[in-house]
Symmetry: C2
Subunit: 331 residues, 2 copies
């Protein structure tokens, strides 16, 4: 029997999580039963949505249980297989992250032996974050060439892909970030047309300066003041795809003071959750994988090493400018 | 030459308008020129949206000018006609309210000689307010039988029609009002399934009690805390048609604190302005006029007498429980 390691939630965070909310625990890993596989995880994902599952308020996914291992996207290598579709040594994607070994029925795993793409890409540009960007732009909305698009948290896993996909479509893309270093990367390497380094209290002014004639579409990852700035800057009949409101994940934030803009400018605000749209995932991979392979889309990743660093990596998602693109824990 | 009377805006209101913002002035009414008509107004409309035009902030209609007559929906009787389509004595609808005599090119007037309907109905149930209710329910959205619908400001000109139209469609309809007397009328005469007499700070709880399993659709006339309560109570994939946000027309109100519900519940919030949808007006009249004629839809009106009462009538729109249905000034 192998000895593995897992990260458990030991208390529900109030506000910003701290490392004390987590415990790293050694566990025995039993041999897989009939129809099961045993996977040594090589990469695991930390994502802002996980903060919601750490609370026990009603939400679209059930809360993590206290005293149990967390879970989330991960990729790994099959070490023991009792299902012929998953040979030992093959790479698989699954949702049993936050632990060194994943074990379960084969149906819960998916092969991702794509040629020339790092397996970790399936946690980022070709995974849930990239698909989220695609859904918000092209399933919930239909962003068009020539439109002006604003993307908040543009250096994040979703925003960095959304910006590039909108650019490929021919839109003018303005991003926001809290870090000057990230802004430089977004401009120089990801080819954003303009980037705002947000200054609280000034965001509407900053956005108006970047888009003097207004924006057509806002991809909201943040909520709070950035959503208020978008309402102020959207043109008549503007649209918002609301993907996440990280500003309020840890502590409540006031709603936009200019909600009346929704009526005055006939805005459409549509919230979405990527898992509702899995029927479009194959279309997404088909559309985006070639652009990743050819380098047209950069699936930037920032790596942190070791399961024991996973809680800190997760917490850093809520701090400004900690990383660019997808944050991945290498195990 | 006739002597008429008009109401002018003499100063821009701050917060709630006062009678000092208005002046009633005698004016000479010249004889109509070629192609013009002269109309003696019999009814004029006061509507909440006019508050927006009293400010000079950018909006979807240009602001009223200081020192000039206000304008808005009115009906009247043709006294002098230089256009054969409008015989003397015929009844017309137009947008030159807030004055005793309206004069202009015939193209700005519309005949409303419908049989068995009071001309004032064209300012209410068959006019802009009724059409607004129709657009919010059936053009912006597609409210269906069996759904639970919440309508704020349900005793108002728009809300009272929206509730009845949704009932006719087969929905379960919950209204809100600030007045116990209005609530009784909504229940007993307009057949709302349930009515909340709103208590600030308690609205989400009140709405949850009225709709324990949640609401499917919210017709927003108010914004502010009622919108927050709707976000809290909408089911997954719920929809909001945002028609007006009267709570913030005079003074700013904070935005909903639970904007994240838009993402978590995949809500759609769509603002609209009725004048964008005039192509559907004939369809609306065709659909609703028979129901009004047969008494299935009650176009409740409250009358105030005399142009000199128009400013007070307008101001009363922002006070609780002042009237039920459409508020009309009889001239």
């Amino acid at each position: 029997m192998r000895t593995g390691c897992e990260v458990r939630l030991v208390s529900r965070p109030e506000g910003l999580p701290t490392v004390e909310n987590f415990a790293i625990v050694d566990v025995e890993v039993p041999e897989p039963g009939a129809g099961q596989v045993l996977v040594r995880n090589t990469f695991m994902s930390v994502d802002p949505y996980m903060r919601g599952r750490m609370s026990d308020a009603p939400s679209y996914v059930e809360p993590f249980e206290i005293g149990k291992a967390l879970s989330g996207g991960a990729v790994g290598v099959v070490e023991v297989s009792r299902d012929a579709r998953f040979p030992v040594g093959s790479t698989v994607l699954h949702s049993l992250g936050w632990r060194t070994y994943a074990e379960g029925l084969a149906a819960a795993f998916r092969s991702v032996d794509a040629v020339g793409v790092s397996p970790s890409a399936y946690l980022g540009v070709l995974g849930m974050p990239g698909f989220t960007a695609y859904v918000g732009l092209f399933v919930i909305d239909d962003v068009k060439a020539g439109e002006t698009v604003f993307i908040s948290s543009a250096a994040g896993a979703v925003g960095s892909i959304a910006g590039q996909l909108a650019k490929l479509r021919g839109a003018r893309v303005i991003g926001s970030t809290r870090s000057k270093d990230s802004a430089k990367v977004l401009r120089d390497e990801l080819h954003f047309d303009d980037v705002i380094v947000v200054e609280p209290g000034q965001i509407a002014k900053q956005l108006r300066n970047a888009a003097p004639t207004g924006i057509d579409f806002y991809f909201d990852n943040v909520g709070g003041e950035q959503l208020e700035a978008a309402f102020a800057t959207l043109k008549d009949h503007g649209r918002v795809s609301a993907c996440g409101m990280i500003a309020g994940y840890c502590d409540p934030v006031p709603g936009p003071r200019n909600m009346a803009a929704i009526v005055q400018k006939r805005l459409k605000v549509q919230g979405f959750i990527v898992s509702d749209h899995m029927a479009r995932n194959a279309e997404f991979v088909h559309a985006v994988a070639p652009a990743v392979a050819s380098g047209k889309i950069s699936g930037r990743e920032t790596f942190v090493n070791g399961l024991e660093q996973a809680p800190k990596a997760f917490i850093s998602l809520f701090a400004p400018g900690a990383h660019i693109g997808k944050l991945v824990v290498r195990l």
